[in-house]
Subunit: 327 residues, 2 copies
């Protein structure tokens, strides 16, 4: 499938061209601390080196790289945010080190290969937004064989959870359907048109919206233990390890796991089972999970989740299979 | 300027492909009654005639036209909603009269010219969405010289208003700026980067959002009288008059004016003056108003409003000129 660049810009990039949105990321302490520490506690990776910042946004990672001693930083940004990045670089007196380039990383050309690629490319549940593709493209084109990636490793996690959201979403869905039924009745009696044939597609639409779309959530660590299994929570972490040949001096982790004090703007993505499933201590959960790109929008994801329960007696309950959209 | 169809689809048409959104329009009683009455109280315009419904959505206007006795109705819809329209037509047993055509009105070809063009094309403050262009295009291509337009006439209104929204929006804006200042301070102290150079562009962005964007509002008729002039409210009405040679038997009006009982989903668009202006009984307001398409998105509008106050003494206060976005 080919991607219409104009459509992609309208759908995806446009939010990033607002300072308001950049500021939200810049105010995420967990995120900021992880990148800050990964750079300043591993200055040997930056001192005198060339760096590429993929999707520089406000320019923050490029600026830190320069402050840590980089010889040259290429800061590439697809949106007009590049202009603000340039302003910021200049105001921080780094215009001789940091070169801001407006363009998408897939299109631009650099005068040299680089020692470090740094990027904050992670979307909800790691892969939403598909910016990972762009980072891999940058790596294959512009990283020296001896170069290092910042971050270098990523993991995805899923845990069974309990949650009150399930009942709420079922209520919302049922409310929407009640409303639809009175609408159908009134349209028939006031305006002589029978809409009941659209009940099924309307219900599908609402089900998708209320019941099959992953929910942004700030899970409490306690929710990770499940008696009644309400669904699954998904999150990710990334690590800054350098490479095997050229490891980090101090390895930093950025985790988006459920936490009481260290939440991030990514939160966790919740996939609810409708209805919830009964599980007891000793049951084995056998979960298969697959995530694919949505056909309509390559930056959104579709998830298929199947969950089989094996009881201590050896009995296996029929698997429940659910489909979700990460939108 | 040329329009990228894919982008236009992503930005504009996509909302119309949800039944949820069509239902909102179908639940707007004022809108529904006006179209219903305009058709069924003017059956002579429909009986035995050919009709084109521009942007049929769920198909409702096409179905009514057929129920009023049309010989043939072409129901054109750009989005996949056309499939639901086709289902609805069939469920109401009108498939021999109503032909649903998926495509944009600019592209499709009809086998004949029509006697009536019916369409519900009005956006916020009449012109937002620019669907009017499509209706005019349809008229020029497909209406017989003897044909009639439903609706046939439209008017835009503006009135000075008072409103508490002004203070609230100023508060929101100031809150966002306070927040920005602490963000700048913390980013400097925690992360060693000075962001203050972005204060001006951030403030411009927030001003545009909070102070220069027209507000959807359900004005109370009393707000139309202004002592302290807080801004202007804008709305529209349309009329179904047929043509001079072939007038309606009963002329119907659809108005979106401020009303206690008969509000519509269009509401009114409010353009606030910051700060509010002092006016007194006897003052003359001389208002110039211009509305142009936004360069970035031809379906959105930009408004320039200048307001000059002439006091009874003859003294003229310096005009206040404001720019607004209808987004
Ligand atoms: N293919 C691509 N080419 C260039 N920039 C891209 C890109 N895909 C995404 N981006 C940009 O990457 C940024 C990701 S958000 C991270 C911004 C910044 N590095 C920070 O850490 O605060 C956005 O500004 C987005 O516009
Ligand atoms: N150029 C164009 N060609 C075809 N359909 C269009 C169009 N511009 C807008 N539309 C469609 O016009 C509809 C306007 S909303 C009105 C829907 C319906 N006639 C009703 O009265 O309830 C939307 O469904 C939109 O997708």
């Amino acid at each position: 499938t080919t991607v219409d660049k104009g459509v992609d810009f309208a759908n995806y990039f446009c939010t990033y061209s607002f300072l308001y949105h950049q500021k939200e990321m810049l105010s995420d302490r967990v995120r900021m601390d992880a990148y800050f520490n990964s750079i300043f506690r591993n200055k040997h990776h930056f001192r005198g080196k060339t760096v590429l910042d993929v999707g520089t946004g406000s320019g923050i990672l490029a600026i830190w790289s320069a402050q840590a001693g980089a010889r040259k930083v290429y800061a590439v940004e697809a949106t007009k945010m590049s202009e603000h990045a340039r302003t910021l670089v200049k105001a921080n007196n780094l215009q001789h080190v940091v070169e801001v380039i407006e363009g998408s990383i897939e299109d631009i050309v650099l005068p040299e290969k680089v020692d470090v690629i740094i990027s904050e490319w992670m979307g909800y549940f790691l892969l939403r937004e598909s910016m990972f593709d762009s980072v891999i493209c940058a790596r294959d084109r512009w990283l020296k064989p001896t170069g290092v990636m910042y971050p270098s490793h990523a993991r995805m996690w899923m845990a069974p959870i309990r949650s009150g959201l399930g009942d709420q979403k079922i209520n919302d869905y049922e409310g929407a359907m009640d409303d639809w039924y009175s609408f159908v009745k009134e349209t028939k009696s006031y305006y002589g048109v029978d809409m009941s044939v659209l009940t099924r597609p309307f219900s599908d639409e609402q089900k998708k919206y209320y019941l099959q779309t992953s929910l942004w959530s700030n899970l409490h660590p306690h929710q990770e233990r499940a008696q009644g299994l309400c669904g699954f929570g998904g999150w990710f972490d990334v690590h800054f390890r350098g490479s095997r040949e050229d490891p980090a001096q101090q390895e930093i982790e950025l985790t988006t796991a459920p936490s009481t004090d260290n939440g991030t703007h990514w939160g966790q993505q919740v996939f609810l089972l409708h209805p919830p499933t009964r599980v007891s201590g000793g049951d084995d959960l056998n979960v298969t999970f697959s995530m694919t790109r949505s056909k309509e929008n390559h930056r959104l994801m579709e998830v298929e989740l199947s969950c089989e329960i094996r009881q201590p007696s050896g009995q296996i309950l029929p698997p429940c299979i659910s489909k979700f959209y990460i939108e």
